[in-house]
Symmetry: C2
Subunit: 494 residues, 2 copies
């Protein structure tokens, strides 16, 4: 067992639980406490440090909530793999700990809201699953129970308190420089993206940013998309009148050789976690795509990094943009998935050539995000709340993900499971070749909604036997009950 | 003098000043108190009603601030012309008076902020005009000193207090139905616009809404614009690759006969207050334009009603859409001018044919305004704050406008003044034919910024002799000093 030496200071500058939390967190970050290592029991540590047990409980609770440690029933607390932790290490401005902020009176306690709310929901639902409520395994829903409403409100209030007419005046077209600085640091530290704040454009969601990008790229674009792909982007490109070529995928993602054969200028890809397939593009394929883009002027890759934050196994995957040496990647991301869908804040990183075009031809389009919302997001990230929120959500989603995979064990005889390393959904493919339509229909009869893969296919060349099951918006009990119903729906029939 | 009979109730249900305020407001609205009529002095009324003088002062202050009455130095208080008052009469939900809301503890006093802030600013500037500060008569700046920050913060706080995860979830593509209901009622009562909430699309500013409209209208559009016109819309249409035809204006606006000769599908007009000319399009010309649109399928008029709220003489001008019988008008408006530029909320009303196309082809574009911002705007209008704010701003802008026109008297010998009935700027045209460049340059030498009309010309067929002078963002003292400098710059030279 790990031996802990904490010099606790009782001078009142920092609470005891804060000192314990900070110490353990630091040890984990520095690799002195290794993944899988067991922490001393709270009872032992409290006696050892001569503090109340609740003090240690509180410190562990915070570490749990932020994803640094995990609890295993009857076994104790263990250190989580540190390379899986979302970190914004290089961001100089993440300074104060949550307790320091709390002492200053500007942070309500938020730590357990996620699980608490969920519990409330579970209790409400208990014994009600025999009713006619449909359990919806939507791949698009997210869990809002973990959202730090209190912090959000507090930041909003603070910003409005100091707001003067400047904040209500027209801002910069690309978004406030301060927010762009924050986003560029965040993207660098968490995704390896190399960009200056000058390259960033803040906009009200990806749909809008694509509308703006269309104006920057100019007319008559031929674009390649993965098949299957994200349907809304496909609809958007179609509404642009783009000539859309579909490129099939293998287990590494978009097939670069097939791309070569297409007469296209742009390829739209999701290398970190392809939707809907869940494919992670390995570095070799990435280099092939970058080479393709570099071979002719005017070729670009649009990297849609829509949900890179949630990954359950292995190291975080850096963005494709991180490997781009020739300025060929247009990087797009959003806070809608990681924070909340209603927070209409996305960002686009333009390579130099396109930035030049934007500044010359399109910079008169005014920013679509209010300066107040920009300030709130900026504070949320700068003050470290975003990092904490992501770690908390990774933990919540990780638990649901595990629950789902466990519950799917009995279905493994008749289904292949894929896309299980990241994101908020998995894919189930019938080994017996049952068409997706039949799978969706049988599930619906048992009051469960799953989604046919073909809804995301641009060209349906062969009958799909695959369905998508998302878990982001469901409670643990709903997942359990939904799986029970799916087993009934599919196993009895197969 | 008007004889007042108020039955004051001392039962504590309503404050005394509230009863006085409500009574006088009602009398004005019902036409019992006529425009120009003098109110009793506060001293007289206080004695007559047997209340403290401060009670009457407070009631008059509220009426002043909302624009129902005006104060003339050494003469007393007079009723403002009622038809010029902005009213949202038919909106059933405007119920509670400001005091009732205050009693419920949800409204901070906002009444005097406008003038107070301005005074502060004036004091700061006093005696400093000999420094090198430039006075900028920008036609785009607005006065933020009248913005009800307190109310805005309070509404935001209330909304966030009751916010649940629904408010942070994805909303409807067209915007929340509740807000669309409110906007449709507002447009009907204040602008005569006939539309259902279903026809409205909420979006983050006009630029975005035009981007969306482009997708609805489809490619290869030929559009007619007034010359001169609003430059940003011109840039936007150009970035769409539209074929743009310019149509000259006479004193009634876009010349319908010239429009006939153009091979265009769409005409973009600002009938209520053309930018930059300030022209108000009379009903005859409106009918000609509507007839033009009705003569061929696929023809539409885009009505940009960007600042219809501020009008100083005569009755409010209804929207062109109000006269549209055949569904040919696309109506666009924004809250950026009347509330604050940073409030990125605009709206577009689609005629049935285009609504059908939108629903079929473009409704997947997600709404660009956060649901929180939508809720704030909705409350702001529903609770009557918008109406009060507009009346207050009309009063503030009206005073500045008058100050500007008075100060321009000495320049009338050498300048024609136009566009003086509405909006936040006027036009000055040199009678001697001095080119605008020389006018701008001479003004700049005296540290005043004015704007050449040609900046808004699409085709500059002859050398412009006209400059624009806006007053929205200037204090009274800045306007006075700016005019003094302009007289020096232009009269000495002419």
């Amino acid at each position: 067992m790990y031996e802990m030496t904490i010099r606790l200071q009782a001078d009142g500058n920092r609470c005891l639980y804060e000192q314990i939390y900070e110490h353990i967190k630091q040890e984990i970050k520095e690799g002195k406490l290794l993944a899988g290592e067991r922490l001393p029991s709270t009872r032992f540590l409290a006696e050892y440090l001569q503090v109340a047990r609740s003090t240690v409980d509180y410190a562990y609770g915070q570490l749990l909530s932020e994803g640094y440690i995990e609890a295993r029933p009857y076994k104790g607390h263990f250190v989580c793999p540190v390379e899986e932790l979302f970190r914004i290490e290089d961001m100089e401005f993440v300074g104060t700990s949550p307790w320091e902020r709390e002492k200053e009176g500007d942070v309500p306690r938020e730590v357990y809201i996620g699980s608490r709310r969920e519990k409330v929901k579970d209790l409400e639902h208990e014994g009600k699953y025999n009713d006619h409520r449909v359990i919806d395994f939507s791949p698009f829903d997210i869990d809002m129970s973990g959202f730090p409403f209190g912090v959000w409100k507090k930041i909003t209030k603070n910003i409005l308190s100091y707001a003067n007419s400047d904040l209500f005046a027209r801002g910069e077209s690309q978004g406030d420089y301060g927010l762009r600085q924050t986003v560029s640091r965040y993207l660098h530290s968490s995704r390896g993206v190399n960009c200056s704040p000058e390259q960033i454009i803040i906009g009200a969601g990806n749909d809008y940013l694509l509308l703006l990008l269309e104006k920057i790229l100019g007319p008559h674009i031929h674009i390649a998309m993965e098949n299957p792909t994200y349907k809304r982007s496909y609809q958007i490109f179609r509404s642009f009148g783009y000539h859309i070529a579909t490129v099939d995928m293998d287990e590494c993602g978009m097939e670069a050789k097939m791309l070569e054969r297409q007469n296209v200028d742009i390829a739209y890809v999701m290398p970190s976690h392809q939707f809907p397939m869940g494919t992670v593009m390995p570095i070799g394929r990435r280099m092939e795509l970058l080479k393709w883009a570099g071979r002719a002027p005017g070729r670009y890759l649009i990297e849609d990094d829509y949900d890179s934050e949630f990954r359950y196994h292995g190291k975080p995957i850096p963005a494709l943009q991180a490997s781009d040496q020739q300025g060929r990647v247009i990087y797009m991301g959003t806070f809608s998935k990681a924070i909340a869908p209603a927070i209409r804040v996305g960002f686009m990183v333009l390579p130099e050539t396109l930035l030049h075009k934007y500044l010359k031809e399109c910079s008169f389009y005014s920013c679509t995000v209010s300066r107040i919302d920009q300030s709130i997001i900026n504070e949320f990230i700068r003050e470290g709340y975003f990092e904490r929120h992501l770690n908390k959500m990774r933990k919540i989603y990780g638990a649901k993900h595990e629950l789902l995979l466990e519950g799917l064990q009995p279905l493994k005889a008749v289904f292949d499971i894929s896309g299980e390393n990241a994101g908020l959904h998995i894919l189930l493919t019938s080994k017996k070749g049952t068409p997706e339509g039949a799978l969706v229909e049988r599930a619906a009869k048992c009051r469960v909604r799953v989604y046919g893969l073909s809804e995301n296919m641009v060209k349906d060349r062969e009958g799909s036997k695959t369905v998508l099951a998302g878990f982001g918006g469901l409670t643990n009990d709903e997942i359990r009950e939904g799986l029970e119903r799916l087993r009934r729906a599919w196993l009895d029939a197969e």
